[in-house]
Structures are given as structure tokens and as C-alpha cells.
Amino acid sequence: MGHAPQLNRRSFVLGTAAIGSGLALGIPFGGPTAVYAADGTPEVNAWVVIRPDETVVVRIARSEMGQGTLTGLAQLVAEELECDWSRVTTEYPTPGQSVARKRVWGDFSTGGSRGVRTSHDYVRKGGAAARLMLIQAAANEWAAPVSECATSKGVITHVPSGRTITYGKVAEAAAKLQPPADVKLKDPKDWIIAGKPLKRLDTVEKTNGKMIYGADIKLPGMLNAAIKDCPVFGGTLKSFDDSKILGMKGVKKVVRVGESAVAVVADTWWHAKSALEAMPVVWDDGKNASVSSESIGKWLQEGLDAAQPAFVGNKAGDVKAAFAGAAKTVEAVYAYPYQNHATMEPMNATVLYTAEKCEVWTGTQNGEAVFAAAVEASGLPSDKCEVYKIMPGGGFGRRGMTDYVRQAVAIAKQMPGTPIKLMWSREEDMLHGRYHPITQSKLVGAFDADNNLIGLHMRISGQSILASVRPEGMQNGMDPVTFQGLNASGEAAIGYTVPNLLIDHSMRNPHVPPGFWRGVNVNQNAIYLESFMDELAHSVGQDPLEFRRKLMTKHPKHLAVLNAVAERIGWTTPAPQGVFRGICQHMGFGSYVAAATEISVTGGNKIKIHRIVAATDPGYAVNPWQIDRQIAGSFVYGLSALFYGECTVKGGRIEQENFDTYQSMTMKEMPKVESILMPSGGFWGGVGEPTICVAAPAVLNAYFAATGKRIRSVPLKNHDIIFA
């Protein structure tokens, strides 16, 4: 055990820069020399291009993958620009352009629910600066002071004279002006475009088949590749016999890809995949060939009580002393499995490599990471590489990785001049995920004689994501992300005050590669803590809501969302006959979230979810309609994980290869989600991920209320618990 994927130096450099200096890039909001957009229109600044026909093109660096970021960021720019929303369209700058312009668009990385919350400041300033330049251009034309000009919906008015001119008429002149040194942003309470429930900008093409995803790319002369990587992580490709398939229809070439994979290149993907299936391949499974879910589970279990090493994530008082003096202690052990992102569109990338250039077309959550991967895998200098971001069929964290891009470049390098589209089969996608990390947790709570919780020790044993994916983010050997939702303060803070508290991590990294899986570590941390809080409450005969409230007096924002769901579900009134309730709260990605459910259980194992109430306080809400959709969707993701989600390991490889053994919820299982959006202002929280983590504990706590049975491991199918 202990195998970790190789660190890529270039993505390390870019990644670190992106994290460390996103807002300190000295992003210029325009320039005295006009820069021209692809269609010949001069850009007002990097964020805004206004065409003579009044179309407003907003450049978006972050990736849209369904979460609505594209629309939300465009709203923020348009708000400050005071343009006509109906004329707004968007485009992606390429990573190559960004690098060539000193990263003028900032960070491309789209994960951690950061799309809006970490770029709202500079994109709004981009819009505000463009507006000032447009006004200046109009004022110059009128020889009038700027202070006499006003803007609304893309029209500049000289107030004293009533003269008007549109943005499109002065955009070219504005592009030549010096950008303003400083711009003032609107108070969100004055927003008229941002903060409003507007429709997405990219819907129509998703309803008529016209939206092009990475899998749909067609280039002249393009060939298709199917690939098999050694199913055992860390294993290698020993040999393959291509004589069996080279005569098959459409097959052009069989190529080795790195140390561990082989690809068939053919005229169509179906031919490539069929030939690959027919080709004898011999693997060297390597040292991980005997690893199983059982062996991993046993190793993690040992970490629950291991004295050292244990990294401390949150500490208060003296837990040992509290336990020694306790009137009563309660203990429980929980577990969370590996899970695959299972994006609907399997991983793919299209690459055209020549000795002079390497171009990549792919759906990605991080255009710059793909760019760095292309530079490294092609061996070409960065000014000879370019990446074109294509709509991804789901991301959920998986498309922040670049493994599939490296493979595609490696294949294309062996066929210079021929565009190669590499697409993974669903089976390849399931076998080569970057899985939700596996962990277990032992929790011990201590009460005094008056049933006050005086001590809590939460030991997490298991896998670190950063150790594998982003080792530069480790702090003295500790993975701080492990403690997401459990920290003393910050964007993922615990919502309880326990006088004697210890939350620590015994890190154990199996060879199965982990990744950021939508919701990341709050998913299991919320199950562990919020189920255990319920256990503690019941152990002293207290109402789970009241028990929490007593511990939350110093956490008013956590408490506010909890109270909101309690009120909406009707916690203090009796539930309908045969219906039982569960409740929980947590924090992640800068947002406070809570959920309450009503379920009924038949035969002890068939769950029907009647109601889900979910509250979110994201600080500011840029598009309430899209946030509603993220919340509803996050319950589908979170409850699919709770009921079905598990990738098991046998012989060092993942056993589940398709949706028949890795199930996902369908319509009949999914109740309506009543979402409560309660932005309290003053901070910016994410909305794509946070509510996933409250889906499972709300149901698990309701299941206990209904049956008296506490379920402490995921998924429910392993307990023979199914949807009614």
C-alpha cells in the first residue's frame, strides 16, 4: 500500500499560483492598446467585448459543467457593466491566451464550489471598469464631464442634455482608453441583474442535441481511440498481441500508452473499442494485487485506536480528563466507502499533435491544469500548446484531473498530424476513477452527571486526498482538508461548542487513487458527526434538535439554518401517522446548510422519503433559481451515494464496472426538495456542493427514529435497506 499517483510538476506550479495569488495577480482592467477579440471587435477589457450590434460578450474563465457558474458570473459582470441582459452572451478565453497575457483572467480551476465565490470580486471589477471606460468614451465624444453621464441597460445618457448613445457605438473608443485605477462595486442590495432568478444562458442547445460535448468533437481526418489501463492501480502493461486485431475493420494502429495502458486507434470508436475487447492483453498487477476492501478496512480499523501518528484538526480543553471524570460515555464507529464520480459522459479528450503544436479539446474543470498537462505530455513549449474547453457531461470533481488528457496526448504523439479522440468506455471510467476517499471514524462522547456533553473525541482513520492529488497543500504531513466541516473556524467550521474536544486523523493511504468528489470530505464528516450527535441526544433521552441547540449558542449562522429546517418540517408538531423525522446541520465551502426529512419505513428495510427540507445560507445568492437546482440536484447525488454508492476492491482493482452494479437514483426514488435559501450577507459561500453532506444524515437519523436501528456505514444496500 502507499502507492500515490505521480505528482506533475507543472500543474503543481500553476496550481499553487492559482491558490496562493488568485487575487494578487495585478489583473489589469483594460489597457491603452486595444486587444482584439477573435471576430475583430476590440475588447473593452479582458472581461468585456461589446460588438457594434450591441451584443455583450462576457469572458468566463471558470468552467460551466451544469452548475450554472457561467450564468452567475455573467450576471455579476453585467450587473456592474449595467448592460442589457438580453444582449449578453459568453465565451471562454483559452488557457493559452491567458498564460500569454500574464493570466489576465485569473484562476481557471472550477472546484470546491469556488466558481463564483472566489472570483466575484475581480469579475465585478472587470464589469465596473468597462462601464467607466464606456462612459468616458461617450463623455469625450460629447465634450461633457463624466459626472453628468448615467448608464442603464447598455445606454449612456448625458443627463443635462438628454443625449444618448449605446455601448456598441462607443466600445471601440473605450477600448483605447486608460483603464480606471480604482473602481467601486455596487452594494449587493442595489443589484438588478445579479441576485435575480434568471434563466441559464446555455439551455436551448441542451434540449435539441446541438450542444457539443467532448465526446461529440469532430475534426477533419480524426481517428478514435479506446484505451485499457491496468485495472490494478499501480500495475503495468506486460504485453499485448495486436496481430489478433490489426486486420479488423477500421483498425489503424495499436499503441502503448505510458507504462500501464494500451490503446486501439480506429476509424470509429465502436471499431476501436470492439478491437480492444478482442485483443489479448497481459498485465503485471504489481504489488497491490492482493489488496481488498477487507484488507483496507482492517488497516483503517487499526487507525481508529492507533496512538500515533494522529494529526490534530481541532482541539479544545482536555478530552482525556473529561473522559476520566465523565458520568457516562457513548461510543460508535462509522465507515464511508470509495465512490466513483460517474459523470454521465465518460472521460475523453481530443488531441492534434504535430512537431510544432499540441492542441487539446476537452471538457475540463481546470483549463490551466489541462494546459500544463499538454505542455508536459507533449514536450512542446507552452507557446506551442493550446486548450479548447468543451462542455463537459458532468464534472463533480473528476474533471479537475488530467489523467485522460495525458493519455490522449501520448496517443496523438504517436500519430503526428492526425487528430485523435480518446474516449473511455463506461467500464474504463469506473475502473480508473479518482475515488471519494475511504475513511472510518470512531466517536466517543462524555456526559457529566447532569447529562451535559462535556467531551467529544472524533478520530478519523483513512485516506487523504491532498497527499495524493495536491501534496503541496499538506501542512507538516497533515491534510487539513480531511477536517472539512470540523474546523474551529473558517469556511468549513464545526457548529458546536464542546468544552473538551479532540478531532484527529490517523492517515492511511491505500493504493486506490482518491480525488475531490462533489462535496469532498464534508460528505462523510457530516454523516459521522451528525449521526453521532443524534446518538448522543438519544442516549440521554433528549430531543435531537434541542440537544444540538444547546451546543450551538456560539454558532448563530449554523443555528439559523437548523432552526429554519426545523420550523419548515414542523419539528415541534407531531408527524403524520407512520412518518418519522430526522434533522442535521453542517458547514462546507463557505456556506451553512441544514436538512430535515420525513420518511416512513415498511418491513424494517424499505424507505420512502416523503419530504426533504434543505436550508442554505451562502452569504450572497447570485442566482436563486440556479441555487435551488443545485440544492435539489445535490440531494440526488448525496442520496444516491447513501443508498447505492460503493466501489469495492478485490485483487487490487475496483469491482463495479457499470451502472448495473453502481446504481444511481431515478425519478421514482426522488421526492421533492423544499429548499430554503437564506443569504444573510457579508460573505460568499459556494452552492454546488454543501447540501450534499446533509442529505444522508437527515435520512439516517429519521431511519433511527422510525426503527430504533442506527446505521453506521454506507451504502444502505449493504444493510438490505432499499427504496420502498
Binding site: K206, T268, W270, T343, M344, E345, M667
Partner: protein, 149 residues
């Protein structure tokens, strides 16, 4: 060489008879609105209509589709128009990533042909497509809207 009738047009398809209809549509006819998700009829991203019935095209052989009327997402609406299901999808802002939505829309359009006013239970039974973004809430709203359009 096989002749397929897709969206009222004849395509000469140079593919083996056992090629899944999905890949004949995507790679031979070049209509990429129909998506590959699983290849084993689990997810429904590849749903098309064959003689008006919803079919998971990844699991039907090209040879079985010869002589039948195949409709894909590109041909769901009449020329230049918008099908009522598509309109409901636009009105209710249903898609997130959108990858599964072609199949979802085709499944719903087929349902409304046989059950013009489906109940929630009808929808639960008929629409079993997987959507990992989790658009089900909006899908249900949009189905009811399309049914009453």
C-alpha cells in the same frame, strides 16, 4: 452497407450489422445529440424512438433498425419548430450539464404519446433515465407542463 431512416432522411450506413444503433447514429450518420452513457441500457442517455417507441439505442443492433422510422433528438421537433417537451424544458430551465437530457426528452416525448396526461406514478414508472446532476425535480415539473401544453 445498410439503409437507415433517421428523422425522415435516408442514411447509407457502412457498418457491421451488429453495430449498436447508437454508434451507427453517432459515428456513421454523424448525429451526436444521442449520447453514450453506459452501453448496457442502464442510463438511457442514448434513448431514441424506433417506430414511435422509446428504445435504448446502445442495446439495439443496427440490423434490427433497418426499415424502421428512427427519430433522434435532432428530429424530434418538426422542421424549424420546437417540440412541446423541448419548450417545457426551456421554460423550466431543466438541464444542468445537459448530457443526459437528449435521452430524457426522448423518453418523455414517447411517454406523452401513449399517456398524454401522466400522473406522478406514470412518470415514475416510465422515466428511468439516470441524471447525475439530479435534474429530476425540474424534469417532473416540465413533464406536467408539457402535458398540459
Amino acid at each position: 452497407m445498410a439503409s437507415l431512416t433517421i428523422n425522415g432522411r435516408t442514411y447509407e450506413i457502412d457498418a457491421e450489422p451488429d453495430t449498436p444503433l447508437l454508434w451507427a447514429i453517432r459515428e456513421n450518420a454523424g448525429l451526436t445529440g444521442t449520447k453514450y452513457g453506459c452501453g448496457v441500457a442502464q442510463c438511457g442517455a442514448c434513448t431514441v424512438h424506433v417506430d414511435g417507441q422509446q428504445v435504448r439505442s446502445c442495446s439495439m443492433a443496427l440490423s434490427e433498425a433497418i426499415g424502421k422510422q428512427i427519430t433522434t433528438i435532432e428530429g424530434l421537433a418538426s422542421e424549424g419548430g420546437v417540440h412541446k417537451v423541448q419548450q417545457a424544458w426551456i421554460d423550466h430551465d431543466v438541464p444542468q450539464c445537459g448530457y443526459c437530457q437528449s435521452g430524457m426528452i426522448m423518453a418523455v416525448a414517447a411517454l406523452l404519446e401513449t399517456v398524454p396526461q401522466p400522473t406522478d406514478e406514470d412518470i415514475d414508472l416510465a422515466i428511468t433515465n439516470i441524471c447525475r446532476c439530479g435534474t429530476f425535480q425540474q424534469v417532473r415539473e416540465a413533464i406536467h407542463a408539457a402535458a398540459s401544453a
